[in-house]
């Protein structure tokens, strides 16, 4: 009897947890328009700057782009639709982060590959020098 009671409390707890999580997700998805516009602008490269985002640039073109993004957010477009619009006009060049697909994966994976390769080389070198020292000790 006590066991069943515990079980029910546990289930209620889990249901409550799921409900709260869903609610939080809902709030996050419907975050205020200005924050959404800001987040979109931060993904876009300012066309007249050197490696600066549309969100950060003080240039007039970037300001006009931010105004346009706000208007599109207010018009009910999704984040993806707005980003896709800019890509359709300026090409993928406008994305500060290269998309994760096809040959572009190279730029995402190269650092990790280089790190692992370097770690392997360092490990191999250390092991060899340690083995060498042991052999030297044995010989002596």
């Amino acid at each position: 009897m006590a066991h069943r009671h515990n079980d029910r409390a546990w289930r209620t707890g889990v249901a409550l947890l799921i409900a709260v999580t869903l609610l939080a997700a809902g709030i996050a998805a419907a975050k205020d328009p200005e924050a959404r516009a800001q987040a979109i602008a931060a993904q876009l490269r300012c066309p007249v700057c050197q490696n600066e985002s549309v969100a950060d640039s003080p240039s007039e073109l970037a300001a006009q782009m931010r105004t346009l993004i706000r208007a599109k957010v207010a018009a009910g477009e999704t984040d993806q639709q707005i980003v896709d619009y800019f890509v359709s006009k300026y090409g993928e060049w406008i994305l500060l982060e290269p998309p994760r697909r096809g040959p572009l994966w190279i730029v995402w994976l190269a650092p990790a590959v280089a790190l692992l390769g370097g770690a392997y080389l360092a490990f191999a070198y250390l092991r060899r020098s340690m083995v060498g020292r042991e052999v030297g000790t044995l010989k002596r």
Binding site: L61, T67, L68, K89, G91
Partner: protein, 191 residues
């Protein structure tokens, strides 16, 4: 006796050396390729696509709606009075193109961006520009055309497709060589 294990262990090292050298060579090629590219040249994805339509409030009153230009070859020029010297260099060329082809089915449209009204009007008066010229106050037209600087000029065929984009000052000669075949295609029945 001591030679055999040595030989066996030296082969992987040779291969590793070759692989390392090949990797370095590929990296070097990529870097050299990158050095020879112009970081300012951003390829436009708009070439071959329908030119975005727009309604432009003109400096001399009224508006110009691009759907009304369908069937004509259109030169869309984005400019600003602070764009020195490129916009100043090309302005007389654009006016000559307008004078030369306006009766043969071509329209030049000037779109003034990121500018001040008085300075823009001074610029038009200075060069005696008579083709339709208007202001894109919010920048929505220029962003729709993927413009990242001035001057930029788009050549649109009779069917409303963008066939060429020029970044930087255009000359009459540059435009004529592209315009003639587009105008010759009188019925707009290009493939």
């Amino acid at each position: 006796m001591a030679v055999a294990p040595n030989m066996r262990s030296s082969w992987p090292r040779v291969w590793a050396g070759i692989a390392g050298a090949a990797g370095a060579a590929v990296l070097l090629l990529v870097l050299v390729f990158g050095l020879h590219r112009d970081p300012g040249a951003i390829p436009s994805p708009l070439i071959g696509r329908q030119a975005p339509e727009f309604v432009l409030p003109l400096f001399d009153g009224g508006t110009l709606a691009t759907p009304a230009l369908r069937g004509r070859v259109v030169v869309v020029n984005f400019w600003a009075s602070w764009c020195v010297p490129a916009c100043y260099e090309e302005a007389p060329h654009l006016q000559r193109i307008w004078d030369r082809y306006r009766d043969r089915g071509l329209t030049v449209v000037g779109v003034n961006i990121q500018d001040q009204d008085r300075l823009a009007r001074d610029f038009i008066a200075r060069f005696g520009l008579t083709f339709p010229n208007g202001v894109d106050r919010l920048g929505t037209i220029s962003i729709d055309y993927g413009v990242y600087g001035v001057p930029e000029t788009f050549l649109v065929d009779r069917k409303g497709r963008i066939v060429h984009k020029y970044a930087g000052a255009v000359t009459e000669e540059m435009l004529v060589s592209e315009i003639e075949p587009l105008l010759a295609d009188a019925d707009g029945a290009s493939p």
